[in-house]
Symmetry: C2
Subunit: 158 residues, 2 copies
């Protein structure tokens, strides 16, 4: 459905334009569509909210999940003005997004200062080689809590 | 500082326990520490908030950034009861977290149903090979907005 894709990309672009006008953060927008209807919208608000996770895609996913009352979105398409960063793409997988349509590439974003390729490079490295110094403690205590949770009546699997 | 690490891991564990008691989601907790002081806390609230991004680490990062009024956390340590998933680790990099201390491993989490290794596998694949069907549209329009943003007086680089 290329025409429908164009309509929704236009809406993602409108979100990005709004964010630029408001000065909320980077020039990025996104919408989530299910059954031909927009159920979530977002634009980058990292600066406005002092929230490094407030990328357009994250806010659109959170909005769509809130509206649909479900932390999984099925048969959903994420339209975004730029190729998602590793955080946003991971979130899209957690949300079970089915299809992705994007505009500019990560390289286009890097050209205006939004560089994210180093993050995936870091994720691919073994822990000891990452720039984020990493250590492990309390494994037993944390695993004990896992077991306690497994036996909890309040447990909701997801 | 192993003793200090233990004190803060205990606090991350307390957050996870609280989440389990409240039935908010998975048995995971996190705290962010700067200069020996906790500035952010979080526990998994995916179920409670219907938000697939509401992992303990994400909420702790967002809390710490809100408290410090900055989308970058410098010299910060993330203490978390479980090895972060790709989304949370990416967010930690965006937030410029310096150091990571975790308890249980991703494998321990997988054993109780929280499997995330497939996400990094997906991220590593070329777009055409991912299970999320991906296409590109409107590159020019999105790049045009990038240029417009670059010339905007409201621009804040980050």
């Amino acid at each position: 459905m290329p025409e429908q894709d164009d309509v929704f990309m236009q809406q993602a672009l409108a979100m990005a334009q709004q964010g630029v006008e408001l000065g909320h953060g980077g020039p990025f927008g996104a919408v989530i569509v299910v059954d031909g209807r927009i159920i979530g919208r977002g634009w980058n608000q990292v600066v406005h909210l002092n929230d490094p996770t407030a990328h357009a895609e994250m806010l659109a996913i959170r909005n769509a999940c809130e509206v649909s009352g479900n932390f999984h979105l099925h048969q959903a398409t994420l339209y975004t003005t730029c190729e998602p960063c590793p955080m946003c793409l991971s979130a899209a997988y957690w949300a079970r997004i089915d299809k992705l349509v994007y505009g500019a590439t990560a390289k286009d974003a890097a050209a205006i200062g939004f560089v994210d390729d180093w993050i995936l490079e870091e994720l691919r490295k073994p822990q000891g080689s990452r720039r984020m110094r990493t250590s492990q403690r309390f494994q037993k205590e944390c695993r004990d809590l896992f077991e306690h949770w497994q036996q909890s009546e309040k447990r909701i699997d997801y």
